[in-house]
Amino acid sequence: MIANYGYKDGSGEYYISIDTDQCITCPVGRACLGACPKGMFESMVDDYDDEVVHVKEQFRRSLAYDCAECKPSTGRGPLPCASACTPGAIGHSW
């Protein structure tokens, strides 16, 4: 399942997508959980009884702000979350 967490408002579209099928067989021991400086990710059992990663509820409505520090307006490096997830299951829409 591709789970997209985030929102779209007047200022833009901000979604973090997680390919949860890849979480089931995660080869890097859920490295994303510790990689995010804000601790936005969390492991949970989904509606189909698979253990996957999701973005914590309290961050889903403020991603533009919560992710801001990893996204300087110039000189942006690789994102810690996406880099930690070597299978490439994490993507950002902005």
Binding site: Y7, D9, G10, S11, R61, S62, A64, Y65, D66, A68, E69, K71, P72, S73, T74
Partner: protein, 269 residues
């Protein structure tokens, strides 16, 4: 040469007339004429509003249009000012204007009715980087305004009352429309008004601050735009940004218009 700067905001048109030779190096802005004209919310006839504001400023300065060498426009509606000689971005105008007051300015925070942004400048008055949140009422003055309405307070009272609170109530709603319901429930649960006001201003400040962090926070920090008048917001912003001081110019809502007039003077000289 006399130049004019027109800042076409979402709610108001701000005009500054400037006689540049006298302003160069001057400590105070006694030669500046300011004019402000309120627009109907979302007024489509922005050009007419700009024209009227310009005429009013000229009349109070005792000048006629022919005396003005160049008219630069800025702001969200800058392209709608048909009589402008040229237009510049809000970033350029803000950086120029703020640096005029405070040459030590490195980070400029501009919070108006509908937009909030952070601008980085290098001391020469040029904008070197910026990040902003546009077109969403939550990251700007509109959010505070809507909430002050729900509390039946003026925006000024709202800001002042928040200074009396030392509680931190997190606001869950990020959207202005949803936040109104949240504020109403806070009122119903007998939360003191000053605590609600602080919760709202803290929320706006944290959003603005997150945007400013994208350009980096370097001293000196200068706040421009209409929200400077909101003392509670200034305090919330200072806490959120973790800086010792935020410099506040005397005529915060005219800073961009002034920057525009200064750019006109430099470029057309």
């Amino acid at each position: 040469m006399i130049t004019a700067g027109i800042d076409m905001g979402s709610r108001t048109v701000k005009v500054v007339l400037l006689e540049d030779a006298k302003v160069e190096g001057a400590p105070a802005l006694q030669f500046v004429v300011k004019g402000k004209h309120l627009m109907f919310p979302g007024d489509l006839d922005a050009d007419a509003a700009a024209d009227q504001a310009f005429e009013e400023a000229l009349a109070s300065a005792g000048l006629d249009r022919g005396a003005v060498g160049a008219v630069y426009a800025t702001g969200a509606g800058r392209k709608m000012v048909k009589f402008a000689t040229d237009s510049v971005t809000e970033m350029s105008a803000g950086a120029k204007g703020a640096s005029f007051f405070y040459p030590s300015a490195r980070t400029i925070v501009d919070v108006g009715a509908e937009e909030g942004r952070g601008i980085k400048t290098d001391g020469s008055g040029k904008a070197t980087d910026f990040a902003g949140n546009e077109k969403c009422a939550a990251g700007a003055g509109s959010f505070a305004e809507a909430m002050s309405r729900a509390l039946q307070m003026s925006l000024k009272e709202f800001g002042e009352s928040s200074l009396r609170s030392d509680r931190s109530i997190p606001m869950n709603a990020q959207c202005t429309v949803f936040a109104e319901s949240e504020v109403v429930s806070l009122i119903h649960s007998s939360t003191p008004k000053e605590d609600i006001a602080k919760a709202v201003l803290d929320a706006v400040a944290s959003r603005v601050c997150a945007m400013v962090r994208r350009v980096g926070i370097d001293n000196d920090v200068v706040l421009i735009g209409g929200m400077v008048h909101n003392t509670g917001f200034v305090k919330s912003l200072q806490t959120a940004m973790g800086v010792d001081e935020i410099k506040l110019p005397d005529m915060p809502e005219y800073v961009s218009a002034l920057g525009c007039a200064l750019l006109a003077a430099t470029q057309r000289a």
